[in-house]
Amino acid sequence: MQNTIYQKLLSRRVIFSLIFLLLLAAPLFMSDFRLNLLGKFLAFAILAIGLDLLWGYTGVLSLGHGIFFGIGAYCMAMYLKLEATGGTLPDFMAWSGMSELPLIWLPFQYPIIAILLGILIPAVVALFIGYLTFRNRISGVYFTILSQALVLVVVTLFVGSQNLTGGTSGLTNFKTLFGFQVNSASTQTAFYLITVVVLGLVFFACRKLIKGRFGKILVGIRDGENRMRFLGYNPSAYKTFIYTLSGGIAGLAGMLFVLQVGIISPTMIGIIPSIEMVLWVALGGRGTLIGPIIGAVLVNAAKTGFSESYPDIWTYFLGLLFVLVVVFLPKGITGLFEKWSDRRKKQDVSSSVEVEKSYS
């Protein structure tokens, strides 16, 4: 028994490393356009890992991760925009009657600060919201719906503050980063590789976090928050921490997104993308760390594929995909794998107990 577990672990490690190497080698055999798409998907995958920490492990479903993603992306974009306009005011500010750079844009003249803020601001926003909601034991669907309303508000705010954010159009038309042409093929390849490395780092950091006792506590909070209080834990603190962490990770993902896609706009942080983010996790398999990565890549690949092949009716397929996966693969794709390998191993009775999870 002990032995097989060890073997499993070992083989898993091998598989992970193989995938990682394959991703690193992708520039050798993929076209620029496809590589760029894959890089975008992997940025999404980073976010999905953070979201899964929150949902799969801690049982908090956020339909509002778009805003953290967005804030990170905007931070990066603000720097890129300033870099592109080279000292003059960005065009949308001029149209909105501004005469000088607003205060909150000032720090974003410096790339390092912009990058740091791209992680910090979303994390702090999450910390603030998390503190206010979890402290008061707003949980389950209440939190979920609230997080969704939050998206609505943030988007409204971003759209409404056109002089600061570029409004509906968002920020685009970038030129350079650290002096490199952001749109050139070689820079894009570099961005892709950075994304792969960041993904790997985030993955292993999160894995380390949840493999220990900490992870068990998260599961405890997911399955019986109140019970954890009577064991002496303060679930609010844990939830707030994970929320903050996943907010920061989302911000990081947003930055990588902007670098590769070259635009961020409120449509990318709104209700619909926020829900889709959750779908990546669900589809890949929540409560596993590899699941969200698979989910993010597959859903987006499917989305791109469907829409390229059937531009006028592709949403049928996407909708159907969601429905089928949720109904028939409640544990996502990784759940399918698990079932499959379980069946092959025909383990003893103990593992076969199906326990109903109730996440709310």
Partner: protein
């Protein structure tokens, strides 16, 4: 700054917005509040109601004598109810029933359903908005002094109250309603006591969906009818239910009118964008005070 007149008209507008919110949230208060199904396709069921109204209007234009035209709207309401309920029932049988134990999953699956329904509408009716002409008895309004209260608004207010009371009566005063509540609280035990939970589930989801249809019908008086009509209302509907307290019908009423009035006031003194932001701040503050909505249901169980 404010004259009495302004206060009254703002109040009326707030109540009117509240009644719209209530109407779109009532069905959701059933499917989400009672059944715990996070039905993201609720907005698309509203869309179904709106398109039904459009279709019936066109039937009247093409086949009925013009003097009967206004009747189309009266007929649309029950038809929208029935068709939306039918679609709801179909959804329940094919999909929702697999998801009762997984409320958050229901969110995802119904999101997919929403996508499919939207695309279906686009395929059938085309992507552009379609036009519905309000019946003549609902154009114009009631003039009270300097106030002007549009009939369409008054009608929606009345309709939402009628819907509310029929739902309340049904759920809290009839045996069938009691069965529904029992099943929603403990499906397995209700089954063991002889309640056919399959029937009850189907019926309940159908009722919730049906009221979405009615809301869609009413919304044709106010706004655009297109494939994405649902998305503009769905968040508001959920907010109403959450502020009111999930599972509490009366909470939904207070939630709807509370949000409606506050939103109108905020929007009046600031602008539409800021109004939206302010209302959210108020809701967060409110939930600090009442974390599980206005009508809290204390339960002794641990989780």
């Amino acid at each position: 700054m404010f004259g009495l007149n302004e206060i009254i008209i703002t109040l009326f507008n707030g109540i009117s917005l509240g009644s719209i919110l209530l109407l779109i949230a009532l069905g959701l208060a059933i499917t989400f509040g009672l059944m715990n199904v996070i039905n993201m396709a609720h907005g698309e069921l509203i869309m179904v109601g709106a398109y039904i109204t459009y279709v019936i209007q066109n039937l009247f234009v093409n086949y009925a004598p013009p003097e009967y035209f206004d009747l189309y709207f009266i007929i649309s309401i029950p038809v929208a109810l029935i068709v939306a309920a039918g679609i709801g029932m179909l959804l329940e049988v094919s999909l929702i029933r697999h998801l009762y134990k997984r409320p958050l999953d229901s969110l995802l699956a119904t999101w997919g359903i929403g996508l499919i329904l939207q695309q279906t509408a686009r395929s059938i009716f085309g992507a552009p908005n379609v036009g519905v002409t309000s019946p003549s008895f609902l154009t114009g309004g009631l003039e009270v002094g300097t106030l002007f209260l549009p009939y369409s608004r008054l009608f929606i207010l009345g309709l939402s109250i009628v819907c509310l009371f029929s739902i309340f009566y049904y759920f809290y005063r009839t045996a069938s309603g009691r069965r529904i509540r029992a099943v929603m609280q403990n499906r397995q035990m209700a089954e063991c006591l002889g309640v056919s939970t399959r029937k009850v589930d189907m019926l309940t989801f159908a009722i919730g969906s049906g009221f979405a249809g009615v809301a869609g019908c009413a919304l044709t008086l106010l706004g655009a009818i297109g494939p994405t009509i649902g998305t503009s209302y769905i968040i508001d509907a959920f907010m109403v239910v959450v502020v009111g307290g999930v599972g509490a019908l009366f909470g939904a009423v207070t939630g709807a009118f509370g949000i409606g009035i506050l939103n109108t006031v905020f929007e009046y003194v600031t602008n539409a964008t800021l109004g939206k932001v302010l209302i959210f701040v108020v809701i967060i503050a409110f939930l600090q005070w009442r974390p599980s909505g206005l009508v809290m249901s204390r339960s002794r169980s641990l989780d």
